[in-house]
Amino acid sequence: MKVEFINPFVVAGIDVLKTIIGSKPQQGQLAVRSATFTTQQLSIVIGITGGIEGQVVYGLSLVTATKIAAAMSLVPTMAFDEFASSAISELGNMISGHATTLLSEAGYDSAITPPALIRGADIEISTATPGLVVPLYTDFGKIEINVALEESDKEIGSDLHSKATASFQ
């Protein structure tokens, strides 16, 4: 996997989290990750399809997720309920959406699937290929960005987003 594929997700993650939390997260050390790894308490899984293909998995603790959901919400929220789950799914969507914009500017047109939220620590997840992981350290705790992407030789058409949704069904 090319290192350049994870950079847009890191930049997008920093930008989106800075907007939501109000302070800029610090980027941690890049590391290689095997195709199979175990999760944190919450994982947001998003498929990427098009000029590059694979998965992005955002991992964070329940405590961090609850704080971020509260920061995102216009109404007070304390517990990690359905609404907070939805907010965290949307967080993954926003970071990934921004990342695909950056990837597109770099010449890799792609689309994202709707997010899937997995709750439970130490669950084994397998991506199609080994990937890279970068932690972002926010005032609310750590968020790991796991990216496993490879270049695809598929044609990019105007129905790219439809195909991403179809692959999610």
Partner: protein, 121 residues
């Protein structure tokens, strides 16, 4: 008071838009969690405006936009999405969307966009 349909797959975003737009005096007449339901609710409710996400299950917002514009060439649709690729923005506007808001957004930007779109419709 303008009647608005909200189409987004996340409960959080629908609730956020509902609060922002209701507080601004708009009437939220319906919600849809995917593109297929967005088109069905449009036909059923005939809202003055639709806030439409792109990345949704079953049918995307771009597909829903195309169908809504075929049903009603005068439909007023604002895309509200995390996708900011130039090609996608251009496609949405060419298909008939009146504006394009990228998430995360500031609430007053959404209200301004809705007011502008309604006043021009």
């Amino acid at each position: 008071m303008a009647r608005i349909l909200l189409a987004d797959d996340t409960l959080f975003m629908r609730a956020t838009l509902k609060k922002v737009l209701s507080d601004a005096g708009f009437d939220i007449v319906g919600e849809a969690e995917n593109g297929k339901l967005a088109v069905e609710r449009y036909e059923e409710l005939k809202p003055d405006l639709v806030m439409l996400d792109i990345t949704m299950p079953v049918k995307t917002g771009l597909e829903a936009l195309e169908e809504i514009m075929k049903l009603d060439p005068n439909a007023t649709v604002i895309m509200c999405t995390a996708i900011g690729q130039e090609r996608v923005v251009a496609q949405a506007l060419q298909t008939g969307a009146k504006d394009y808001i990228i998430k995360p957004f500031k609430p007053d930007k959404v209200v301004d966009a809705v007011n502008k779109a309604i006043s021009r419709s």
